[in-house]
Symmetry: C2
Subunit: 390 residues, 2 copies
């Protein structure tokens, strides 16, 4: 177990009807906000009206910027930065899922930076100061409501890059599981894959002696595995929606990663897919993660056996650990397929012809390796994309 520092000060306000508290909560920080959101869904469901009413009731002024797309774009972020500067806005309220929150975080950093905000995402500049961000969460998936991360897409070349900084932790996250009742099954399933990937990226580690966080990871994975089929059957099952929503935050606020080095290769390999094909991040992960597992499991068979037995209840073959390990990988893939996700590149709509291009971008022309559990070069990544065809 490694030394670590952990502090997650995001205030979680969780449960039925909690969106009505948003004005009161914002007011503790600011009297004027940028109200940032995505497409029309929050207007259709009435959430927009409830948020606006709560802001008005608490005398909070707001300027709107909607239109965040999945895989949020740097162009809209630049627009948000301009508005915040012109209107002297001291707080950003993100109402939506991970894309809206990540976009809000990017705006919050860009406001104080003289250069272009994309500089942060290509490592040309470091985030030193941010506007505070608050969240009303509508999609349990990205974990961005309490995380340090922001992922952004640059349409100019379709690059998808991420920034991690403690300054990106939102001040508060309002989480009402009822708001997720209207999530379509496919989006619910994509969220599940994203949540599970956040845990598995931390779970597959070379750091020894991480018994406690292993168990926390396994507990969180099992919660998702048990509850997703329930909400696909009955989208308005509050209990199951609530388990998923709270687990999604814990999966990515970095408690589960304390004292251990995560891998994150699958995320990077997936980012190339969703940057080119604009597929849902979770769907891409469902295709990539089992392929990555098959490619690397021999690096640490006991860890994959533990994963199979503890997470998937695989009956252990004590005489053939590899068989048990492979069963765990197979169960992971079967689970993704069973909840309606693609598990091959073809199902995802990705073409074999672009594998080399993606592997090349992923490794910056084979000059960098990807991942920590096993350090992968361009050839490795090509092999993983190929395994993802099956």
């Amino acid at each position: 177990m490694n030394n670590f520092t952990f502090q997650n000060a995001t205030k979680i306000i969780f449960g039925k009807g909690t969106e009505h508290q948003v004005g009161e909560e914002v007011k503790k920080h600011a009297g004027k906000v940028l109200l940032h959101y995505g497409g029309g869904s929050i207007k259709k469901t009435g959430l927009y009206d409830r948020v606006v009413a709560s802001l008005k009731n608490n005398g909070v002024e707001f300027v709107e910027l909607g239109g965040v797309q999945p895989n949020p774009r740097v162009s809209l972020v630049r627009e948000g930065i301009k508005i915040c500067r012109e209107e002297n806005i001291p707080f950003i309220l993100a109402v939506g899922g991970g894309s809206v929150i990540d976009s809000a975080k990017a705006i919050s950093a860009g406001v104080y930076y003289e250069g272009d905000v994309w500089d942060f995402y290509i490592g040309k500049a470091e985030v030193e100061k941010c506007l505070p961000v608050g969240v009303v969460l509508t999609i349990p998936a990205a974990g961005s409501e309490a995380s340090t991360g922001s992922v952004l897409t640059n349409e100019d070349g379709w690059y998808k890059k991420s920034v991690d900084t403690e300054l990106f932790r939102p001040k508060f996250a309002i989480m009402n599981p009822e708001l997720t009742y209207t999530l379509p099954p496919y989006q619910t399933a994509c969220g599940a894959a994203d949540i599970m990937a956040h845990i598995m990226e931390r779970y597959f580690t070379n750091t020894p002696d991480v018994d406690f966080t292993d168990r926390l990871c396994e507990a969180t994975l099992k919660t998702i595995i048990e509850n997703i089929p329930i909400v696909l059957e009955n989208p308005e099952d509050y209990a199951a929606r609530a388990q998923i929503m709270w687990a999604s935050t814990i999966a990515h606020n970095d408690l589960l990663g304390t004292g251990r080095v995560g891998d994150w290769a699958s995320h990077q390999i997936e980012h190339e897919l969703s940057a080119i094909y604009d597929v849902a991040h979770g769907a891409g992960l469902a295709v990539v993660f089992p392929a990555w597992m098959k490619y690397v499991y021999k690096h640490n068979v006991p860890r994959f056996v533990q994963f199979a037995v503890r997470v998937w209840n695989v009956e252990q073959d004590f005489h053939n650990p590899e068989r048990t390990a492979l069963k765990g990988i197979e169960r992971t893939k079967e689970f993704f397929a069973s909840i309606g996700l693609p598990v091959t590149l073809e199902q995802l709509g990705a073409e074999e012809e672009r594998i080399e291009e993606m592997a090349d971008k992923c490794t910056a022309g084979d000059t960098e390796t990807v991942g920590e559990f096993v350090k992968l070069n361009k050839e490795d990544i090509i092999e993983i994309y190929k395994l993802a065809r099956e």
Copy 2:
């Protein structure tokens, strides 16, 4: 699952050698501190010297107040309040275990209060403002390093009472598992019982639909159960000490209690024991908790079956759930005994003659009930003390 608000901003600085960071960390908050500690153990181990050196290196002035006893006394707290006022001290640094931290929290609240600090503990006044508190932790047990609680003993009548407030969360907690190498086996075991009790108090709930936090509770309990025997065998096993230390914080920072109502009867029943007999809190809990379980398990047999199967790996008897439930309770008691803890009142040195007196104090003369899972009156508590004789 109930609505909840959760925010734990305590900064955890975890790992080998981290006590050397204490001066740097304190300096972010204050230039002068009350250095609060217990008996001589931190001087014997050299920790005192390292802390003092780090404070001096960072130009932090300090005034000392040692002498905190297990079951910390209100008299010393009053002395601390006086010193902080006279010396104009803006920050309290607690170096020790739960008793030292709880004493520091009491001082931090008393400084701003005109009346007597004990008023907070008997509900005569509410904590409205506190000095900030920082921690260098030496005993994984009470979880006070990131919790909202403080437990104090009034020698005048030997009352033991607690206060809970978000204001009591320490600013930071420095946690080096190496500092726990010198903990005697009995104290290590008492810590284990305390940690497990913090989890079990939350686990045994009437709140339905708490799958996720159930699993987190189980993961944390199993971590303690697996790692305590390892450190009793080899006190300098860093890996196991580290799992226990981090788990002890998570057990009581209230993540595991989010969205659910805890019980806390066993804690109150135990407080009467340790108030009169001045026994270690953990030892008292090892005696009380299994007796409480035996008394209440019929209230929710499936929950006790889940506890037996998931926490203790009891082979489930599908046709006789009560048998499985009872096996889980028996395993709990056996575990406490196996790590060297008392499991009967007699082993604890408590006399049967005072059972009624303790039950009377616990329920304020049978005018109040204790616990939430099952609300217990004086008669119930007498029965539980009696069960604790066996």
